[in-house]
Amino acid sequence: MEAPTAVGGGVAWRLWALVPIVLLALAVAVVVSQGDRVVDLLGGTPPPADEFDVRRVEFREGEIRIEVRNPQRDDLTIASVTVDDAIVPFTLDGPATLGRLRTSTIVVPYAWVEDEPIAVGVTSSTGIETVEEIPAAVLTPQPSARGFFGYGLIGLLVGVVPVALGLLWLPSLRRADARWLAAFMALTAGLLTFLGIEALAEALELQAALPSALGGPGLVLLGVAASALGMTFLSARLSRGKTGMTGLALALLVAVGIGVHNLGEGLAIGTSFSTGELQLGAFLVIGFMVHNLTEGLGIAAPASGARVTVWQLIGLALIAGAPAILGTWLGGYAARGTL
């Protein structure tokens, strides 16, 4: 007799539990529609900053292209454009008045001087000038087979090659003493922990530069949660209900994680080349190569106890390393200020 009552009561209570959520939604709707009036009660709301977000400045033959975005809630109108503190004629590829997060490209016919610093300014209808200083004007690379191959080659050098070289330690690891193996596994764990902490710190630092409308720390934590869930899901799939993962499965898991990480490295390198920081790019390549050798070791260590074919090893190297190629392409051709 008691059981049905309990179930019925449960349904009622569950429905009752929805009430606060529904009411909250209503309250939020009211604030969204009337929020300005509530804020007005406080008095003295400052005017909008009216600054543009200069996303990209491209240098072409006899032409500068400036991509701007409106990072604020209020509309923002492009009224005047300067190059090196001089008003210049321009045309717009997009609207002059930008709604929130809308972008437009300003096209300025201009005989810019190669390799010299240059500053572009965009003035809003309220007279606020946003100035973007470019350390050196360099012809923006347009997609070409040669450049595409170049970026791909760099991605290969940074990602696939060192990981593959690291995997060559596999035979030595197999013959190594169990204590040494444990030590290398610990090294792998340490490496991944370091990468995790470093990536998180870097992500938090990067998000500070983003327009607030795009998220902030929450966005980073959302990304962390998403990748953790993804990896957990993958790990569950790989172990298929068994008590533990096989060595190869663990190696695959590590390779996937490292692959995602290398995508970011590729982006950094591609961006650095495309923004003209060439020397830095070359050093970046060397640094990442040396660094990524240990990633190969990290993949090899868990696989040392299992039987692995050459093809599987190649596959692991590609999973861990190839995303760097994708990254350099993305960074090289789609480099944005926000990347």
């Binding site: 008003i87 004629p89 002059a96 810019w112 012809l139 450049g147 003209g276």
Partner: protein
Amino acid sequence: MAKFTRRRLLCATAPLAAAAPLGAKIAIGGGDAAAAGHDHSTHRTTESHSDHARMGHAAMIGDGAPAVGGPNELDELLYPPPALPYKPGRVRPYTLVATDEEIEIAPGVFFPAWTYNGTVPGPVIRATEDDLLRVRFINRGSHPHTIHFHGIHPTNMDGVFEIVVPGDELTYEFPARPAGLHLYHCHSTPLKKHIHKGLYGAFIVDPKVPRAPARELVFVMNGYDTDGDGGNNFYTVNGRSFYYARYPIRVRKGELVRVYLANLTEFDLINSFHLHADFFRYQPTGTGDNWEYTDTVMQCQGQRGVLEVQFSNSGTFMFHAHQSEFTELGWMGYFQVEE
């Protein structure tokens, strides 16, 4: 740069990495950006002849010049009221009303100005020496203002201590002295703000012995700091940047052209006037017999003078500040000299 902590780390270790011969190879294979930066054999000129029509001064004349409004809209400021022959005991009445106005100073760029009679600069005030000047001043603005005239007058007519609060009015009355080109401006504090917001104008006192008949023009040089950083974003004569580039001033070859030139630019120490392809005679402050024969004059803030020119040729004669920055931020125009 500061975005990539990883990159900074590697930059710091770069000297070590530079030892690797691999570095050189990577730099060569670094894609299009590398080629643009280093390959001087394919050094690019960033303009072609056809581009010139879209750029530079050629693009800054007529409809290509980014100036506000239609033709003849600034005639009241450009052409002063006529000089009257000396007549003892004559009263010259004027009414100046201070208002807050949102004025368009360049296409689409609005400046929250404080004005006399709705324009920046204010109207030209003209009297013959020893005329009794009677200026009724009404403050319909939101801040306390005054009118401070340059010239010889009782100190209680000096517009320094007699502050006119919003809604109030005051009549300034004094004999116009000495003959020359003078100024008037607000002298409320903060002085910089009250002047820069637009409360100023030209004050011509004609000598009892009239000047030779001429086509007379008034140029009041000014600037606008639209983003409040203490530096001007736009420069003009008579209030609108590039206005006389869009609508050249028409005069006749050989006729006497007299320009009353005054500098009311805030923030910058000096401003200047340079005439192309001819010379003029310049009388500092419009007083005395000290005429200079030149094509360029410099004025500090508040300085002014009278210049006279008879064009020796017909054609398009550029004039502008000989500070290139001011020129390219709007202080530029043309005389169209006809046969």
